[in-house]
Symmetry: C2
DNA sequence: CCCTCTGTTGGCAAGGTGCCAACAGAGGGC
DNA sequence: GCCCTCTGTTGGCACCTTGCCAACAGAGGG
């Protein structure tokens, strides 16, 4: 039945053998593509397999089950990797430091807005502890890096909490700018800059340091 | 087989006939309870039916399908209904108006933090357009009401966008306060008050009015 | 050229979901 | 008070999705 097929779709590659890393990535790409446009439960493993051009069973081989694959996609979409590019120390005034942080944020989000927003703005009833944990870890690290950058104690719990709150503002602002297009990037930039400066100045007053 | 049952669970009500509205509500309650603790796909309709003490088929009768029920739960969890309690006009300074808005927000969220946060903080990859639409509508209305309350033009697109951004800060702040408990309510209150005052003062400068 | 290693496939079994025909409380007419 | 209709409610059937596993087949070494 496999050999007899005459009407084989042109790009239905007969069967290519890939190194695991490569195959893994290609599956993640395919899955991410589908999860961006419809909710989890509407994306069937059949569809993912088709999109990736493989047999469905291979998904389980690489990721255990559908949920495992999903969590992997979430991990990949979080901003964690680009946190490396955020400089630890910047010379100059607080205003200049804040400027650097905001620009970094918008710059690293811009090329990947689609997946960034779908990960963080998903919304919907569902207390998914595992997904929440992934995002929480990324948020925590980001808050810490921001405090370092602006020269505040990156271990102070209250400061961290406040910066994480600010993170909520940042996410929604990206949403307004890149998805709803109700703000231009300069407007978004201005808002984020002003509020962050306001916030850090306040923290600086309460916790002077270096 | 139904009559012969001797080991019938004590509370497995034999079969009670309820008015549609009441039954509907009880199903929504049951579903909301389950969706709060695990993601959509992990909650089976079997489990919901068991929790509600009814036959599974009744879910379809009332809500069409599982997703319909889910969307209904989301609608119920949004803060829309309590928006009625937010006064339209408050006498006094901008600081006093902001104070009223912030207190209203924290007060109305407090008794229903659990469902409020699970609805808005869900997160996870899944561009669910229908769910997003429900939340967007609620956010839009809330932003409008806030502008009215502080005495700014509730039709100005830019102001609306900025207040919606602020909404992101508000949601995350509630998360830090009520879920992670990294902030006390007074601290959360202070942050939200300061930032909103900062924001509205700024808008007032650009758009003086009444 | 064969043999092994391992990436890959296809189908089976279990569970979840939507649908529908049949069942049975509750209230009105006689 | 009895029956009859109305409609809330049930149970099971058929379809789809998912996880698993045994069998298949490229690729490189002896």
């Amino acid at each position: 039945m496999s050999q007899a097929a005459d009407d084989r779709p042109p790009d239905a590659v007969v069967r290519r053998r890939l190194p695991p890393d490569e195959r893994r990535e290609s599956i993640l790409d395919a899955a991410a593509r589908l999860f961006e446009h419809q909710p989890y439960s509407r994306v069937s493993t059949v569809a993912i397999a088709r999109e990736a051009g493989i047999a469905r069973g291979l998904l389980n081989h690489y990721f255990g089950d559908k949920r495992g694959l999903y969590l992997e996609v979430v991990r990949r979409s979080v901003l964690l990797p680009t946190l490396e590019d955020l400089p630890t120390r910047v010379p100059g005034s607080m205003a200049e430091k804040v400027e650097v942080a905001v620009r970094w944020f918008l710059d690293s989000v811009e090329p990947r807005v689609a997946s960034y927003l779908t990960v963080l703005g998903a919304e919907g009833v569902a207390d998914d502890e595992e997904v929440a944990a992934i995002i929480r870890r990324a948020d925590d690290l980001a808050a810490q890096r921001v405090l370092e950058l602006v020269g505040l104690d990156p271990a102070d719990e209250r400061s961290l909490a406040l910066v994480r709150c600010y993170g909520g503002l940042a996410k929604t602002t990206v949403h307004e700018w890149a998805r709803r297009e109700t703000l231009t990037r300069p407007q978004a930039h201005e808002l984020l800059r002003d509020v962050l400066l306001f916030l850090t100045s306040d923290l600086l007053r309460a916790q002077p340091r270096g």
